[in-house]
C-alpha cells in the first residue's frame, strides 16, 4: 500500500460518515443554552453558598475561639440533631439536579452495573467500568476542600481561597471509615472521598455523617481532585451513594426516583448487592451514546 492508495482508501471510508444531522446548529445552540442555564444555576448556588460559607467561616472562628479547629473538619461527636441534619442533606440532594442515566454516555440499567465486576465493552474495543471500588462505611468527618475559579476567556482554572466570592466550584473532603469492601482494591480502613460543596458546605458537613452506613460507588483519578490524587470520588458526579436502612434496604437519595427504582430492582438490599458483587466478572456490550 502506497500513500496514494491510502489517500484513496481514506476518502472512500470518510464517505461512510454520511451527512451530518440537519439540525446541527439547533443542537449546538441547545447545548449552549443548557450550559448558560447551568452557569445561571451555578451563579445562584454560588451566591447562596457564599452566604452559607460566610456563616460557616464565622462559625469556624467561633469554634476556634472555643479551642476547636473548624478547618480540620466537623466533629460528628458534637451535639447535632442527627435526623435533622440527615433530612436537610437529603432535601438538598433532592432539590439538586439528581442523577439521571440519560445524562451520561453509559446508562446503567441496575446498580449491579456500577460494581467493578461489570465491564462495558465499547464498540472500538475499549473496556471500562463505572467504578474502581465499592465500599460500605460511614463518614466520620467532613472538611473544606478547595475552591476554584474558571476564566472562560483565558481557558484557565485558578485556585482561590475556599470562601472567596470568585469561586465557581468548591470541594469538600469526607473521611470515611470503611467497614466492608464489596469490590475493587481498597486496603485502608479510612479513605477520603471528595464531594462537590457547591450546594452548602455546612449542610453537607453535618448531613453526610448523619446518614450512617452508606455504600460508596467510587472512582479514582477524578480530574476534579487531581490536586490530591489519593482522594476518591463518587460515581456520576457524586450521586451514586446508597443509604443502608436499618433493615438492610438500600435507598439512593441523590438519584432521580425513576432511576433509583429501576437501579434497585435487582439489588434492593445490601445483602443482594453483596451477592452481586461476588458474581464472576461479566462484560456488557455497549453501543449507544448520549445525544
Amino acid at each position: 500500500m502506497n500513500t496514494d492508495e491510502l489517500r484513496e482508501a481514506l476518502r472512500r471510508d470518510a464517505e461512510l460518515a454520511g451527512l451530518p444531522p440537519t439540525d446541527l446548529v439547533h443542537r449546538v445552540a441547545g447545548r449552549r443554552s443548557r450550559r448558560r442555564r447551568l452557569t445561571g444555576v451555578v451563579g445562584c448556588v454560588l451566591a447562596i453558598a457564599v452566604a452559607v460559607v460566610g456563616v460557616s467561616v464565622l462559625d469556624g472562628v467561633r469554634e476556634q475561639d472555643r479551642g476547636v479547629d473548624a478547618a480540620a473538619g466537623v466533629d460528628v461527636e458534637t451535639e447535632v440533631d442527627v435526623e435533622a441534619a440527615a433530612a436537610a442533606y437529603r432535601e438538598s440532594l433532592a432539590n439538586g439536579s439528581g442523577s439521571s442515566a440519560a445524562s451520561y454516555a453509559i446508562g446503567p440499567e441496575s446498580l449491579t452495573e456500577f460494581l467493578p465486576n461489570t465491564t462495558y465493552l465499547v464498540r472500538n474495543g475499549t473496556r471500562t467500568t463505572l467504578t474502581d471500588a465499592v465500599v460500605v462505611g460511614h463518614v466520620t468527618s467532613v472538611s473544606p476542600g478547595r475552591a476554584f475559579h474558571y476564566d472562560d476567556d483565558e481557558h484557565s482554572t485558578t485556585e482561590v481561597p475556599f470562601d472567596d466570592s470568585r469561586a465557581m466550584w468548591r470541594t469538600a473532603h469526607a473521611e470515611v471509615a470503611v467497614t466492608e469492601v464489596l469490590g475493587g482494591q481498597v486496603r485502608e480502613d479510612t479513605i477520603v472521598v471528595g464531594f462537590g460543596a457547591g450546594r452548602s458546605f455546612d449542610v453537607l458537613a453535618a448531613g453526610l455523617p448523619a446518614l450512617g452506613d452508606l455504600v460508596f460507588f467510587l472512582q479514582s483519578g477524578s480530574a476534579v481532585y487531581d490536586y490530591e490524587p489519593g482522594i476518591w470520588s463518587v460515581a456520576f458526579d457524586g450521586s451514586v451513594l446508597a443509604e443502608v436502612e436499618s433493615d438492610g434496604r438500600l435507598t439512593l437519595p441523590a438519584v432521580e426516583p425513576y432511576w433509583a427504582e429501576q437501579w434497585l430492582t435487582q439489588t434492593p438490599t445490601l445483602d443482594s448487592l453483596r451477592a452481586a458483587a461476588q458474581q464472576p466478572a461479566r462484560i456488557v456490550p455497549f453501543e449507544t451514546l448520549e445525544d
Binding site: 500500500m1 491510502l6 484513496e8 471510508d13 461512510l16 446548529v25 449546538v28 471500562t128 448520549e290
Partner: protein
C-alpha cells in the same frame, strides 16, 4: 453572538459540517462519536465565533478544535493500548484497492496523535508544517509520527500471511 454572527455561524455549519464530520469519523471510527465530537467542536467554536477575525478562515480553526478535542477524549477513554516499536520491512501486497471500511478500522490501531497526523496529512492533504500547526507540535514530530503511522497501517492493511502463501501456491 449577534444576529449577524449567528447567521454567519449557521452558514458556516451548513457549508462545512459535512467535511468536518468526515474528518471526525476518520478520527473516531464511529459515526455516533464523530457526530458528538463535531458538536463539541462547534460548541467550542461558537463561543469564540465573534472573536474569529476572518470567518472565511474558520474551517482550519474548527478542524484544530476537532483534533485537539479528539486527543483529549482519547486520553480519557484509552485503556490497554499496546504499542510496538517494530517497523515492518516492507509494505503489503500493493496494487489492490483497500476494501471499503478497512482503512478507518486500521486507524483504530494507532495512538491518537499518530492517527490525527495520518488523517491531516493523507486525508486533509495538509503539509507537514500545517499539520504541525494544527496539532501544536514540531514538524519533526509530524514526520516521525507519519512515518511510524504509515508503517503500522501497512501492517494492518496487508493481506494475512497465510493468504499470501495461498496465492503463491495457487500461482
Amino acid at each position: 453572538m449577534t444576529m449577524d454572527s449567528e447567521a454567519g455561524f449557521a452558514d458556516f455549519v451548513g457549508q462545512w459540517s459535512p467535511a468536518l464530520l468526515r474528518v471526525a469519523f476518520l478520527l473516531t471510527g464511529d459515526r455516533g462519536l464523530a457526530e458528538d465530537l463535531l458538536q463539541t467542536a462547534l460548541l467550542k467554536t461558537s463561543r469564540r465565533w465573534s472573536k474569529l477575525a476572518d470567518h472565511r478562515a474558520a474551517y482550519p480553526y474548527v478542524r484544530r478544535v476537532l483534533v485537539t478535542t479528539y486527543a483529549s477524549w482519547r486520553r480519557r477513554h484509552r485503556v490497554g493500548e499496546v504499542l510496538t516499536d517494530q517497523l515492518p520491512e516492507h509494505g503489503g501486497a500493493g496494487g489492490e484497492p483497500v476494501p471499503t471500511g478497512r482503512a478507518v478500522a486500521a486507524l483504530d490501531a494507532l495512538p491518537p496523535r499518530m492517527r490525527a497526523v495520518i488523517v491531516l496529512r493523507f486525508y486533509e492533504d495538509l503539509s507537514e508544517a500545517d499539520t504541525a500547526a494544527a496539532l501544536g507540535c514540531s514538524v519533526g514530530s509530524v514526520k516521525s509520527q507519519a512515518s511510524r503511522g504509515l508503517a503500522r497501517l501497512r501492517v494492518e492493511l496487508s493481506p494475512p500471511a497465510d493468504l499470501l502463501m495461498h496465492r503463491e501456491d495457487a500461482s
